[in-house]
């Protein structure tokens, strides 16, 4: 679905932000990008939808190589939910905000009305359709943002720290949507430093100072203590316990299985 080849990027300031990124995401896959603040995660997601122009290398989405001519077609395939719920709410009301992307795609009015109803219902915001953003919580605003992108019917959704400004309840809700969408076949790319979110995905890519440090199956990455420590990421508590057991030479396969199950929560 997404093929990134030898991608490098720097902002006008001249400081290199990404070096030689190679990443391939298959259709229907759920990939997490983990990394500390400033490691270049948001920059990478902006490069994928052509909000930034790569210095070298290429981005291919669903067979389309990102360029001036294909950028609009690619944005129809990839939607992004950004970190700050307030800075992506364009409409004056919830209804208008979900409509915004559809208006841009020149969807006919009747079709638009139907889709707004359908996706507002899907994220449980039907009763808020006429509400203005300042009457909503952060989590509700993020749900509206998700509905707006779902309504545009994209194949890929990128969640760029979409839960980092929410309370635990709002966070859980968004994570539940991610899971549900992925089951329905949407390709998902989550950007986070929350290990609880990472554990749900199929694959984890660790980004450090603009380079890919590790790219492997979620379970393997989460158990790779050295790598996580190198990139200043904390091990999940059940996994820490599991390691502690191992270090002390204690063997308890049942407990280990239980711990893994509780941390992945699948």
């Amino acid at each position: 679905m997404i093929e990134i080849r030898d991608l490098s990027f720097e902002y006008q300031t001249g400081k290199p932000v990404l070096h030689d990124i190679n990443l391939s995401i298959k259709k229907g896959e759920w990939v997490t990008i983990l990394g500390h603040n400033g490691s270049g995660k948001s920059t990478l997601s902006k490069l994928i939808v052509g909000l930034l122009k790569p210095k070298t290398g290429s981005v291919v989405v669903d067979g389309l190589t990102l360029s001036h001519d294909t950028v609009h077609a690619i944005r129809r395939k990839v939607g992004i939910v950004f970190q700050n719920p307030d800075n992506q709410f364009v409409g004056v009301t919830v209804r208008d905000d979900i409509a915004f992307g559809l208006e841009n795609l020149q969807v006919p009015r009747e079709d638009m009305i139907e889709r707004i109803e359908r996706f507002a219902q899907k994220v449980g915001m039907t009763e808020f359709l006429n509400k203005e953003p300042h009457a909503l919580s952060g989590g509700q605003k993020q749900r509206v943002a998700i509905a707006g992108i779902l309504a545009m019917d994209t194949d890929v959704i990128i969640f760029d720290e979409a839960t980092s400004m929410l309370d635990p309840k709002g966070r859980r809700m968004i994570v539940d949507y991610m899971r549900q969408l992925n089951r329905e076949g949407v390709t998902i790319l989550t950007i986070t430093h929350d290990m609880k979110e990472a554990v749900l995905s199929d694959r984890i890519v660790i980004l450090k100072e603009g380079k890919i440090l590790l790219d492997d199956q979620a379970e393997l990455v989460l158990n790779n203590r050295d790598m996580l420590e190198q990139s200043n990421l904390e091990l999940l508590l059940p996994l820490r316990v599991r390691h502690a057991l191992k270090e002390r030479g204690l063997k308890h396969p049942e407990l280990e299985a239980l711990l893994w199950a509780s941390s992945s929560n699948k």
Binding site: R75, Q88, V92, T93, G101, Q106, H134
Partner: protein, 322 residues
Amino acid sequence: MKNIVIGRFIPGSSFLYKMDPRTKIIVLILLMVSAFLVRSLSLIAFGLMLLMVVLIVGRISVKRVLLGLRPLMFLLIFTFSFQIFFNTAGELVFTTTLAYSPGGLGVVVLLWFFWWFTRRRIPFKLLYFLVVLIASGTLLSLFSYGPIFTTSTIEVYSQGLEMALFIMLRLVIIVTLSTILTLTTKPTDLNLGLEAVLKPFKLIRVNTEEMAMIISISLRYIPTLLDEANKIILAQASRGVDFSEGKLKEKLMQIVSLLVPMFIISFKRSDELASAMEARSFVPGRPRTRLHQLTWRPMDTVALCFGLIILSTVIVLRVIGW
């Protein structure tokens, strides 16, 4: 900050709510032009009466309208006093002589001390100030014990009084009109109405859709930015900055300490918002379909005629020298 009424829609169901936003904007413009063309006090007073009828029939709370006037209170009082004291045309209608004596000055000083310590607890500060001001004038004359140092005369002339009332009523009408528009029109509709009304400017190559988008986003972010300002004020207050007190120089520093973070936050915000809009396939200037459509009702034709009749009557009256 919370009481800012401009741009706030209050749900309701009177005829003003059912009117097409285009009609409301056009009639608003017609009536404002009329208010500026009117020359005589009696006509403007009649206009205000008409407006009262509209408010009552439209079931608009007078309190809301008064809240809309509040930011203009200072301007109103300033122009009013300026006209009253400095316009000396027409006949003398009122005159009084103030005598400054030790007794009178003593009482007045006491009164101002009292004002200084109680003003925080009074909800209508400006009104309270004016009452105290008038009271001190009266007290000066009442308590003229001891030798009189000097005297001063206050004279009010008919034209000054008339102009003062006239200017005040005109301002009240104009502000009330725009308050009615924003109170009864959903921001979405307001935006659509503006876009439609601006359409003729397309002929001179102004991009009206983009303008409407800018207006819409500004309206959308006013409450958010006010919240932001409140947060910054609280944050500064917790570090010891007091926004309600201080000398002019300190006040200026406080305003800077508010504006600088506001600018930085706004730029970051607009940058992120632009990314979010582009990511959702927004391309400036490209045609878009619209969710909302406006419907013109017979009522709108009536309202438009009403506005036109008022304007033409005012023009005719002005031509024949009223």
